[in-house]
């Protein structure tokens, strides 16, 4: 019971950090000229949870973060995009983590999936109106590229944090 309480407190703290990072990025956008592409700093916090705690905890933090961001800063219709992106991303990251990949591969796959799922959800919900197939292909290629680069950056940041902060201090007693 005592352990559970401590764990919840720590996860809540990380959730707050994840929300805050998303907020910081919304206020100070680092644009690379491609709409919808962000560094996704919050993913850094999610990676931390994934490696220090586990997939279930990471999924929980990810979903809660998305809900909070949607309630606070964006309109609810946007929730379907971000939620599907967040869920697909954490699912794929957990799967890839079981393979021969390090945190870098996991993060790159996660960032890319997040972007692509959002694009896909936008297409399904909003329909194909106005977007030509050529535009979608080019856009998808940019999302893959940017997702990968952003993923590597986040992986580096998270790996530094994970090495500095001992996992025992977080998940242990």
């Amino acid at each position: 019971m005592h352990w559970q309480g401590k764990k919840m407190a720590r996860l809540s703290l990380l959730l707050a950090v994840a929300v805050l990072l998303g907020y910081v990025e919304a206020v100070i956008p680092v644009s690379v000229g491609v709409p919808g592409v962000k560094l996704g700093l919050a993913n850094c916090a999610l990676l931390f949870v994934l490696y220090a705690f586990g997939p279930a905890e990471a999924a929980l933090v990810s979903v809660l973060r998305t809900l909070i961001i949607a309630l606070l800063f964006t309109n609810l219709p946007m929730l379907i995009y971000s939620l599907s992106g967040a869920l697909m991303s954490i699912l794929l990251m957990s799967l890839i983590k079981r393979g021969p990949f390090s945190i870098y591969g996991v993060s790159a796959a996660g960032g890319m999936t997040h972007n692509l799922t959002q694009l896909l959800a936008a297409l399904i919900v909003a329909g194909l109106t106005g977007s030509t197939p050529s535009f979608l292909l080019t856009y998808a290629s940019l999302l893959i590229l940017c997702g990968m680069v952003a993923g590597f950056v986040n992986a580096f940041l998270a790996s530094v944090l994970l090495q500095r902060i001992s996992p025992e201090a977080l998940s242990g007693n």
Partner: protein, 132 residues
Amino acid sequence: MNPTEELKFKRADGMLAAALLLAAAVLFTLGGFLQQSEAGSDKRVRVYRDGEEVLDAAITEELNTPVFSEDDGENIISIRDGKVCVESANCPGQDCVKMGWISQPGEEIICLPHKLVIRIEGGEGDVDALAR
């Protein structure tokens, strides 16, 4: 498993990165090819003043430029989203402005007072180009 081992860049990560780069390159190239066919390839906007060509631009461009003619005549020509129109003009009647947007090869906007012809040329459907 040593936890720090999971934090170092591995061979598998490099292979994943290479695969992603390849996928992105393929999608990008495909997109480029598709765009060429979508754009009706080489449609161009040509503006003639009294029979003399004064402007030649790809219809895929984004352009907003005045074309001047005799007696302080001025037509603002706008190219956007694969269409062209006369946005504004100081001609009497304003017929050229009222014609609105054109996008198909062979279509024309004419401003008689300024002796101006704006025509879309080239592309597959250009019957006029064959007849000429």
